[in-house]
């Protein structure tokens, strides 16, 4: 294979890998392709409150089940003084707080962050029991209620074609306050909720059903009690019903806490127990959501990346990852334009300094230091020093200049000039040295051309590097560096003319 073909093959592979990883991160892990995307993260807090009797206390709270359209990003438990662990009981997780002795009112907290994804709520197969336990309605005083229930069942049965429409009809009747049978039932079961009664009636009709406990995710809700949904087995699958409307399907924004099963809270050694919920919505950058979501799964791509570094190092890397972009700008300007600069990649370092100092301040400081440095350097050249000591002297001068600029500008109240320290001193010193040689050998015009070229490249590099899209992509998709590398390799194969050559060779045409 000729080198040229090799370059194209390698570039194609690199670009493919880079683009592939980027697409994977975007589509699978949900990293946003554009900056500034926000997602709503719900913070749900469950508060378990009770009065302890003074003896040993044990509280068991059922924890939310996994739900396909709700991603749990993180959970915290607060339980001062209580022992805490999570136990698994028949397909259910329960948080268990325990304490040898407690007296008076107690509060235990469980908090979780949830991100709602688009998609159906329930799709996981459910291994819940489909046994129906018929309620006992044989007692004499229950005669009227029993008849009322049978009447409701019969009515619903007549008006429906299958278990699904039956349930809808039944719920419709149970919500109809004109219905005498319904009123009779509710008068008998005064302390039962709608779902309790519906479950009772469904059991009578020999239809497997259970309750779903959960919450509606609405912003800024406090002291909520859990809401119930009804889930019914129609012989083939489970169908969720919203009890008031009687509509099948999980309502949007409904966060399922407990599906089937038993109690929400079991308490031993206390009274007046109560579980209340509060919900807050936070707008969080989409990237953070993805980051937190993948943390638990330990996705290799994320785990072995810059994100695994401490925050401080990450912010350094944010800058370092921009260097290749700056290098690419230099490559483009060299290969396609043919700009002359002093030092090939010196403009990139300047651009990085500009990022810290802001452009105008940076330009002013750079020009000031260059002029003052050149002036000092011209004097030094008359002292017949060795080159190394002369450059070292220039370095010291540059540092003194930086210090002076900082102090003077601070006293004048120009705080921005304090960022002068971000300039790479050694590079500046070398630039001054080179420029003074260029001045001596090629004249001041060449100095202006070269430093102007360097500044132009630096400004362009700065402009590209501070672009919010570039910043976003380099940091969130470092894989794109492979694409950049491929691009640079391909550019390295360009044999066409440079823009400057179109001017240079002008005399040939004519």
């Amino acid at each position: 294979m000729s080198p040229r073909v090799q370059v194209y093959v390698i570039a194609a592979l690199l670009a493919l890998v880079g683009a592939g990883l980027t697409a994977y991160k975007n589509l699978e892990l949900g990293f946003p392709l554009l900056p500034g995307e926000y997602r709503t993260v719900w913070t749900i807090e469950a508060k378990v409150g009770f009065d302890a009797d003074g003896g040993p206390v044990k509280a068991a709270l059922t924890l939310p089940r996994e739900q396909r359209n709700m991603e749990i990003l993180g959970e915290t438990f607060s339980s001062s003084g209580f022992g805490f662990y999570i136990a698994r009981e028949d397909d259910e997780y329960r948080a268990i707080w325990s304490r040898r002795a407690a007296q008076g009112p107690q509060s235990l907290f469980y908090q979780l962050d949830v991100y709602q994804r688009p998609g159906a709520a329930l799709a996981q197969p459910l291994s819940l029991s489909t046994d129906v336990q018929k309620p006992f309605l044989g007692a004499r005083e229950q005669e009227a209620v029993r008849l009322a229930i049978y009447s409701l069942v019969e009515q619903a049965h007549e008006r429906s074609s299958d278990d699904e429409s039956f349930t809808t009809q039944l719920l419709f009747e149970l919500n109809d306050e004109e219905n005498q049978d319904r009123n009779l039932i509710f008068r008998y079961y005064t302390d039962r909720s709608l779902v309790d009664v519906a479950l009772l009636v469904l059991a009578t009709a020999d239809i497997p059903a259970h309750r779903i406990r959960g919450l509606y995710l609405e912003d800024d809700r406090r002291r909520l009690s859990p809401e119930d949904l009804l889930e019914v087995y129609d012989g083939k699958r489970w169908i969720v019903f919203e009890p008031i409307s009687g509509q099948p399907g999980v309502p949007e924004n409904f966060f399922i806490w407990q599906r089937g099963g038993k109690s929400l809270l079991d308490l031993e050694g206390g009274r007046n127990s109560q579980v209340t919920f509060s919900v807050i919505a936070n707008d969080v950058p989409a990237r953070d959501v993805s980051m937190r979501g993948t943390k638990d799964e330990k996705d290799a791509l994320v785990d072995f990346s810059i994100y695994s570094l401490p925050i401080e190092q990450q912010s350094i890397f944010k800058l370092i990852l921009l260097v290749p972009v700056g290098a690419m700008v230099v490559v483009l300007l060299r290969v396609f334009v043919g700009l002359r600069t002093s030092g090939t990649f010196m403009p990139v370092l300047l651009a990085i300094a500009f990022i810290e100092t802001q452009l105008i301040t940076g330009l002013a400081i750079f020009t000031l230091i260059l002029i003052l440095g050149l002036w000092v350097r011209f004097y030094l050249s008359r002292l017949n020093l060795l080159l190394v000591s002369r450059i070292a002297a220039v370095v010291v001068t540059v540092v003194i200049l930086m210090g002076a600029i900082s102090v003077v500008s601070y006293k004048l109240g120009i705080e921005q000039a304090l960022t002068v320290t971000f300039f790479p001193m050694i590079i500046l010193a070398w630039t001054i040295e080179r420029m003074s040689i260029v001045w001596e050998e090629d004249g001041p015009y060449e100095v202006v051309v070269q430093s102007g070229g360097s500044l132009l490249v630096a400004i362009l590099a700065w402009w590209v590097m501070t672009n919010r899209y570039i910043e976003h992509w380099t940091f969130n998709f470092p894989e794109l560096l492979l694409v950049l590398l491929a691009f640079i390799l391909v550019v390295g194969n360009y044999t066409g003319y440079r823009l400057s050559e179109l001017m240079r060779f002008r005399p040939l045409v004519r």
Binding site: N384, L387, I437, Y497, R498, E501, F505, R506, L508, V509
Partner: protein
């Protein structure tokens, strides 16, 4: 007064840019194409030091029997004042160069003396201290690429053939020949002018004179991108210019191919009054200004050589020179 109106700049840019298609049609070789298609392909990295380090060039030329300006002394390591003075004190004329200087930087030519002072070729006078500082600067790598420590060479000043006196002002005229795979393909004479401050760089205002490979006569002359007929300072017409010992000079350039092993090579040659053509230095990345000086693109000639039969690359120097002179003559 400089005028910076937008219209002015736009017109200048529009008038100053030529279409890349035109350049391609004319067979002009660009920098990118030169780097990839010629330097990378025909010049082995490992052979670069032969031309990049002028001391190496000198040594190789000696053993290949190619005449060069006489080397008086070389300082490999930073030299003491006494050592330098011991060398230059007895000399009337000499040249101090960095062995690995780039772009002709750091070359100090002393053409004569005036008491304790040394006279540069431009007429300016310097002191011994300035020369010592120059030597120290070269050692520290001020003129070498990447600032690497360098070696200093002291060379005899070439006794220039007076034939060029009227064509070069305040400086040293030299002939640049591009040799491709052993075949000379193009040549130019670089004449310094007052405007170029005695330097032979075209972009600094020196005159580039295209030389017909067959005859050694001037065929085209350019200064600052404009075609000219006579030297701007001396007003001597270039028509009459003919390089003496032309065959010897081209032969010398062609034989540098064997010496360096570089397929795409630029040879800088000066003419000595007594000794004839001398190899000043070789260049593994010869520039492209020679195309402007000749008014002809390089690509066609390079392509012609590239497509030659394999047999042709086994020919000896004289056959190659004869071939080039025949093929690349300006009719």
């Amino acid at each position: 007064m400089l005028q910076f109106s937008v219209k002015h700049i736009v017109n200048k840019v529009r008038g100053g840019v030529v279409s890349p298609l035109t350049l391609r049609r004319m067979g002009v070789l660009g920098m990118n194409a030169r780097n990839i298609d010629y330097i990378a392909r025909y010049n082995d990295r490992e052979k670069f030091p032969i031309v990049d380090d002028k001391l190496n060039t000198k040594r190789a030329a000696k053993s290949a029997g190619i005449p060069v300006p006489e080397l008086i002394a070389a300082f490999e390591s930073p030299a003491s004042r006494k050592r330098v003075m011991d060398v230059i004190d007895p000399l009337w004329q000499f040249v101090i160069k960095p062995a690995r200087g780039s772009g002709g930087k750091g070359i100090l030519v002393i053409a004569g003396r005036n008491g304790d002072k040394y006279k540069k070729i431009s007429g300016a006078e310097v002191e011994a201290l300035d020369i010592l500082r120059h030597v120290s600067n070269i050692h520290s790598g001020l003129y070498s690429l990447g600032g690497k420590p360098d070696r200093v060479m002291v060379e005899a000043l070439v006794d220039f053939d007076p034939v060029f006196d009227r064509y070069s002002v305040e400086g040293v005229p030299d002939v640049r020949v591009i040799v491709f795979r052993g075949y000379p393909v193009m040549a130019m004479l670089r004449c310094s002018t007052h405007a170029s401050d005695g330097k032979a760089n075209l972009h600094q205002g020196a005159v580039g004179v295209g030389i017909d490979l067959a005859s050694g006569r001037s065929c085209h002359a350019v200064m600052r991108g404009l075609r000219i007929d006579q030297h701007p300072d001396t007003e001597v017409p270039f028509d009459a210019l003919e390089v003496p010992d032309w065959y010897e000079l081209v032969r010398l350039a062609a034989s540098c191919y064997e010496m360096t092993g570089l397929g795409y090579l630029g040879c800088d040659i000066v003419l000595d009054r007594e000794r004839g053509p001398l190899l000043l230095e070789g260049n593994a990345r010869p520039g492209l200004a020679i195309q402007i000086a000749n008014g002809v693109g390089l690509r066609e000639r390079l392509g012609f050589i590239e497509n030659l039969d394999e047999e042709m690359f086994k020919k000896d120097v004289d056959e190659r020179v004869a071939f080039s002179m025949r093929e690349f003559a300006v009719s």
